[in-house]
């Protein structure tokens, strides 16, 4: 670690001690309180110059490298601040895509508003396009100066609270399915847009379904050329660069005290079996932190291999399942009595049944465990790809 990074760490830590919200989870018992907590914390980070370290240097606090961002996220995890659930997609996914593909005019129109709190969501997944994203069917037809869009989007994080949406649509059905995709910027207040929250099994509503019914999007709100949507979407999907999993792994390590408390409350401090399970989990979390850390170090050094990101994600998702499962097991019958959840409280809130159900978020979202295993096997280990043709049982041969 260089002196400059140590200085940065020291500054961030001091700033967080003075500015990070305290006891914020206790307040987040409603959506409204959650939104307020998120907005206030984001505004504070903007003010402190820590909201957009990855943006170009002309922006407040921008011009920082990945190594500096890593320090910032480690410190945010350490301070157990609210995770930036509402604004993350705006500052990372939307901004990074706009910086890479947006015209000067588009950048000037959209980027400053992100710092003022404008919220973006992502409209990629659909009922028929989950793991197979290129199967997007939401249709956009060019009519003069507008695209007329019809279709349905799913799993738009914070979509019901968002102002704008990164929208992947189909403009052509000719050729390979990736080639017919186009990338649009949708104003969610436009006529014909309906956002409906998705009720998750643990009781939160962090995602929305978007229904698009003859929605008109001006052609000037297209990113890249028509038919270039797949390439633009890759920029969006690769924008966060490993920081989230680094932060989440560190938060999981920081949350071990919740399990420790549970063990003490149940008087099982001398139960060798419980201690082993707890010790094994602690080592696995240490390993998850180590691989997330190594991944970023390799990325900074330009040594990342295709598939490395999948190793990190699969390690995290499986370890989180173990963490929450152990809490559920140790908590016993008490975990089965319904307790109100903490909105936006993170992956480890101590509401064990809710945390356990919420942990599926990481084994399914952002490329399911099974998709990660395919990537690892085929792209990192060079095993053969899935055959393109198949026969279903009962089909004529």
């Amino acid at each position: 670690m260089t002196d400059a990074l140590e200085t940065l760490r020291h500054d961030v830590r001091a700033w967080l001690e003075a500015n990070a919200p305290k006891d914020w989870r206790a307040a987040c018992t409603t959506h409204e309180a959650f939104l307020q907590t998120q907005r206030d914390w984001f505004a504070k980070l903007v003010e402190g110059g820590y909201a957009v370290p990855h943006w170009p240097a002309e922006w407040p606090g921008g011009g920082q490298g990945l190594a500096e961002q890593k320090v910032l996220y480690e410190e945010l995890a350490r301070a157990d601040t609210p995770r930036l659930l509402l604004s993350f997609m705006s500052t990372y996914h939307a901004a990074s895509t706009l910086f890479e593909w947006g015209s000067a005019e588009q950048q000037a129109r959209y980027i400053p508003r992100i710092l003022e709190g404008e919220i973006w969501c992502q409209g990629f997944s659909e009922p028929g396009a989950g793991s197979d994203l290129a199967a997007v069917r939401t249709r956009a037809e060019r009519r003069g100066d507008v695209y007329v869009v019809n279709g349905q989007k799913l799993w738009s994080t914070m979509g019901q609270f968002a102002d704008k949406c990164l929208l992947l649509v189909r403009t052509s059905t000719d050729g390979v399915k990736q080639a017919g995709l186009t990338y649009l910027l949708l104003d969610l207040k436009a006529k014909g847009v309906t956002a409906r929250p998705i009720h998750q099994i643990h009781g939160d509503e962090e995602f929305a379904e978007l229904f698009l019914d003859d929605v008109e999007i001006p052609v000037e709100d297209r990113l890249g050329a028509e038919g270039q949507g797949w390439a633009v979407a890759q920029s969006t999907l690769s924008s966060e660069r490993g920081l989230t999993l680094l932060e989440l792994s560190a938060r999981m390590r920081g949350a071990l005290w919740r399990l420790a408390d549970l063990i003490r409350e149940n008087g099982r401090e001398s139960d060798a079996g419980v201690l082993r399970d707890f010790g094994r989990l602690a080592s696995r979390i240490d390993a998850a932190c180590a691989i997330a850390d190594q991944f970023l170090a390799n990325r900074i050094a330009g040594l990342e291999r295709v598939g490395d990101a999948s190793l990190v994600k699969l390690t995290y998702s499986r370890t989180l399942r173990e963490f929450t499962s152990l809490g559920l097991r140790l908590g016993g019958l008490e975990t089965q009595y319904h307790e109100p959840i903490i909105f936006g409280g993170g992956m480890e809130t101590g509401n064990w049944m809710a945390d356990f159900m919420n942990s599926y978020a990481w084994t399914i979202a952002g490329g399911s465990d099974e998709v990660q295993r395919n990537i690892i096997a085929e792209r990192l280990l060079g095993m053969p790809r899935e055959p393109k043709t198949w026969t279903l049982a009962g089909d004529a041969a």
Partner: protein, 326 residues
């Protein structure tokens, strides 16, 4: 990975792989000595190379990868104990001999069981034995000692029970001996973790190769997603364990408890991968002629040496319980 470590790993891999898997003792041990592996942890003023824990990690992973025989782990404990014995007149002479490859050995059982001196590698080839007892560490000549081979399932290692005839040279006593015993135990655990991760990587690589070659139902086994996903899981566990290993290797504050937890984790990963490797090889994996069983046996032995996963996971749990406070 630091450049020096990568260079050292490459050199070690090149040297050790020349003998193939589970090479014969003489050639393998000569290579270990010739490449300076036994000098690495010795300070330069004592004629060594003055390298850190990362360097030793690179050596042990490569020894594990080729299923190398020999007492490298035990001998490095003797060497570390000699380095610590700065009042000993014979120190330089003994160090020189040990660094050159004269076999000196030690028990690889858990520290509190060291009184009985079990699991001593290659005692029949050794001139000296390190004896670690509570508050007392010594180096005894093995001439005339009663040694008994305890044949292990793992044929890449040879373990003995030893009853030494005398105490020999005293290397440390009292608090110094207690501290040194902990340091030696930590070093042994780290070495076993490295050996395990090298072995796990090797058998995983061989398994992937086999799945790509073996054909059934007119296609390579590697095409079946059920098998690919198992391999992907193995690669994931291994990669995370390797990241933890190198993280602890570079962490000077990692002591006995951290390395014990690492050893439990690494040997569990090795065992899981070696177990699944036999299954994925099918019938051939159950035969002596194939190398699969060698990894399985070494993995289970590594698991039992130096205190098993149950012991170290319980310790890790106790420690996490103390540390994890809101």
């Amino acid at each position: 990975m630091s450049t020096e470590r990568a260079e050292l790993r490459d050199a070690a891999r090149k040297a050790f792989s020349a003998g193939g898997l589970a090479p014969a003792f003489d050639a393998s041990w000569n290579t270990v000595a010739e490449m300076g592996a036994l000098m690495m942890a010795v300070p330069e003023e004592l004629g060594g190379l003055g390298l850190d824990r990362e360097a030793s990690g690179a050596i042990h992973t490569e020894l594990g990868r080729t299923l190398a025989p020999g007492p490298a782990i035990a001998q490095m404990l003797v060497i570390e104990a000699l380095v610590a014995a700065d009042g000993l007149a014979e120190r330089q002479d003994l160090l020189d001999r040990a660094m050159a490859g004269e076999v000196m050995t030690a028990s690889l059982a858990r520290a509190d069981a060291w009184g009985s001196l079990t699991a001593v590698p290659d005692a029949d080839r050794a001139s000296h034995l390190l004896i670690v007892r509570a508050g007392h560490i010594s180096l005894a000549p093995l001439e005339g000692a009663e040694i008994t081979l305890r044949e292990t399932w793992d044929k890449t290692r040879r373990l003995f029970e030893v009853r030494p005839t005398g105490d020999g040279l005293v290397l440390a006593q009292g608090d110094a001996a207690t501290a040194l015993a902990q340091q030696l135990e930590a070093q042994m655990l780290f070495a076993l973790a490295g050996d395990s991760l090298g072995g796990a990587d090797a058998i995983l690589e061989l398994t992937i190769e086999y799945l790509g070659t073996r054909r059934q139902f007119d296609r390579p086994l590697a095409l079946f997603q059920a098998l690919k996903h198992r391999v992907a899981d193995m690669k994931t566990w291994l990669s995370a364990a390797e990241a933890l290993f190198w993280n602890r290797a570079a962490d000077n504050t990692a002591g006995l408890q951290e390395l014990g937890a690492l050893k439990a984790h690494a040997t569990s990963v090795y065992r899981a991968i070696a177990e699944d490797a036999v299954q994925l090889h099918g019938g051939i994996g159950l035969t002596m002629e194939h190398h699969c069983h060698l990894f399985l046996k070494r993995a289970t032995l590594n698991n039992a040496l130096g205190g098993d996963a149950d012991h170290w996971e319980e310790q890790a749990g106790r420690r996490a319980l103390e540390k994890a406070v809101a």
